[in-house]
Symmetry: C2
Subunit: 306 residues, 2 copies
């Protein structure tokens, strides 16, 4: 057989649907629906859930109920609940909600950093530094999302060196682990591996996660490519929640269902009950009035319908 | 890097959209539309096209215009045009159309063989034998489609031994090359590799092609797994034509566009112009009154629309 021997025997999935997914929804989703979604995800076996974002409701009104959602989640032992905190103000608002982990959101592309968070990469790191310091002092874990690690909607291809440089900056300010994100879904196996390899110069394999978008249908194969490097942490989004803000109607986050199907089929332990996961995706999709954006969910729901 | 060194530097794609795809359409597609689709595929750089099927129009009325379509195709040098011929009667009807290759269609699952072609695997081989003999005598190439090589809608998992046995039977009657098809799309990398490995005991790597369905979103990663074994021939379907007859509304054949995106992104030569391919898929999808079932086509068409 020609697959790498580095493929792990177990994988941890971080469902980002409640935050990264629902943040991109135009229709408002009530706090109780978000809370129920988190409940269903943990019932399905998810051990990490990105719950909400502490950003200005002026910019992201979808997450304006962050404290209410965090307060409403009935936490299960062994599950990590993370929240996005882009700056000190957000962090201070988040602390009262007792997140297990905060997430800071950087970019490997200068143009994307400017357009998305209105500052240079260097400035974003300066802004994150006190947040990371405060979080660690408070005993809260810190994850760094590195967006546009393969391609950028403004700059095109991103050199692995830029990814390595961002990882170095993240490491310098104390970020404990990082996501290698293919934000616009243009990655293919060799490019994704190059981005991960650049990251591995600063973080060990246990502290690197893959975050792939399925815009061009490549997220599952990119997951396989990352598995072959030994990466065992991945972000995905139940029902493919989120869409792609850079290509109207296109897919964004890979669905958790499709990744779980890959992993289970390969005999890799995920701890996830695929049927319950499909139910969770159907729950939120029904609320949003559409079908899950997941091929696995589509096939399983069709099969159930007979 | 952790990808196999067996990955080929060029790949040949066999577009099965006009046959395997349109065969599953309920609405009749006029011969001139099929001819135009074949034209557009060859203009996009496809070097192998499965054009039609010579089966009884009682069973497959969609292909009743087989001779007309074959007569209408303006053949390009270096392009191989294949047709499905399930039996001697079909072969005799096909000969006048001068196909470069005929395809016989077997199954690694006994139950699927019975339900799909109304005979046992052994009987199907007996039926194919004179067809293969006649084709080779007439200087026509012969390909064998091996369906259900990973899973079967009736039997569930299929053991690699059954795939190897079917490959052996195909080889015995003179079939020159075979497709390892995951007909219901349940394959994942290790299972697909096991099916291919069983086939490689009877056929060398140049005579084995991968045929993956995207019902569970795994076709592109299964392509990566097959590439890592050195497989360099794949079937796919422009715009994901075909659907999955075993799961209503679900995806069948992987779209050629999604596979080309993988290959081009990996620096593998396909000779295909992706933009022209997307145009070909849009042409037939517009005719069918729906959107292409391809994430790449969706993303590229959205991008063009701005």
């Amino acid at each position: 057989m020609a697959l790498s021997s580095l493929i792990p025997s177990r994988v941890k999935l971080i469902d980002v649907g409640p935050r990264d997914g629902l943040q991109n929804e135009k229709a408002p989703v009530p706090a109780e629906v978000k809370i129920e979604l988190v409940q269903r995800l943990q019932d399905a076996g998810l051990k990490e859930i990105e719950v909400t974002s502490f950003v200005s409701p002026k910019w992201v009104p979808q997450m304006g109920d962050n404290a209410e959602v965090m307060a409403g989640v009935r936490r299960a032992p062994g599950v990590l609940y993370s929240v996005l905190t882009p700056n000190m103000k957000g962090f201070e608002a988040a602390v009262a909600s007792r997140p297990d982990e905060i997430v800071v959101f950087g970019a490997a592309s200068e143009a994307f950093s400017q357009k998305n968070i209105n500052c240079s990469i260097a400035e974003s790191i300066e802004r994150f530094a006190p947040v990371v310091e405060a979080a660690l002092a408070a005993g809260i874990k810190v994850r760094g999302a590195m967006s546009c690690t393969v391609g950028c909607p403004y700059e095109g291809d991103i050199a692995p060196e830029k990814v390595g440089e961002l990882a170095r900056l993240m490491k310098n300010i104390g970020v404990q682990r990082v996501d290698v994100a293919d934000t616009i879904g243009v990655g293919t196996p060799r490019k994704v591996q190059a981005a991960i390899e650049a990251t591995l110069r600063h973080y060990d394999i246990d502290h690197v996660s893959g975050h792939f978008h399925d815009t061009y249908g490549q997220a599952v194969s990119n997951t396989l490519a990352a598995l072959e490097m030994g990466v065992w942490n991945y972000q995905s989004s139940v029902a493919g929640l989120g869409g792609c803000p850079y290509a109207k109607g296109a897919t964004g986050n890979v669905s958790t269902e499709d990744v779980v199907f890959l992993l289970q089929g390969m005999g890799i332990d995920t701890g996830i009950d695929l049927d319950k996961l499909v139910d969770a995706g159907k729950y939120i999709s029904d609320f949003l009035g559409r079908k899950p954006n997941s091929r696995v969910a589509t096939a399983i729901l069709n099969k159930r319908a007979g």
